[in-house]
Symmetry: C2
Subunit: 141 residues, 2 copies
Amino acid sequence: MSSSTHDIEEGLAFTPKFDADGLITAVATDAKSGDVLMVAYMNDEALRKTIASGEAWYYSRSRKALWKKGETSGHVQRVVELRVDCDQDALWLKVEQKGPGACHTGRRSCFYRAVPLGKSGAVTLEFRDGEKTFDPGKVYK
Amino acid sequence: MSSSTHDIEEGLAFTPKFDADGLITAVATDAKSGDVLMVAYMNDEALRKTIASGEAWYYSRSRKALWKKGETSGHVQRVVELRVDCDQDALWLKVEQKGPGACHTGRRSCFYRAVPLGKSGAVTLEFRDGEKTFDPGKVYK
């Protein structure tokens, strides 16, 4: 193990590893239930703003823009705890999700469909917790 | 919203969206505690094998190889539930982690350090659940 790998994995210096696009993967879970709410990305600025404010900021790959989660919907995420993984290329945010949900489709979590296991070939998804908790047409004007 | 976006978000066809490298992000959480154990990647073959076997397979970006989680360590992940997100570019595996841990550093989770909030400038990490649960030198020969 090289000294730098040891530092990254066992050290206390925060040296987040951004990918070729300058992004790092961020997983937000509900601090109470443990459910994964969303998987998103941060650039350096989003990460700095998240750390400084204690509220989640991300970088939208499709819109190519920094965004504060909830800036339009009001569904802000208060970060209860922020963790980094062993090789410092992924982040885990335990959040208190304000409002009825995190997903732009109107659901609490973005993960509202299950993939059945034990199959090969074409797969048909099954809704799980698929009820909409808000009307995205009203929330995102 | 285009018809295809609607199909991806509201449909029951599983159409995972792999990135330019042919990979999709996969988040494994402990099915009981809800803790995030690891963030990894799957290629099409790893995903097919995971679905068919009910055990987690990933693709290692550093080793450029398919790997069954636990193939060396015995620390297999039984998939309790597999979910896909709204735009079908991320997966969530709720797993039963066999053995003492998921992380190659010898810990239960890869996320054993917290980033303190409310700071700007240099950040010093803090260990959380940082105790090693196994000796990686013995497990990975």
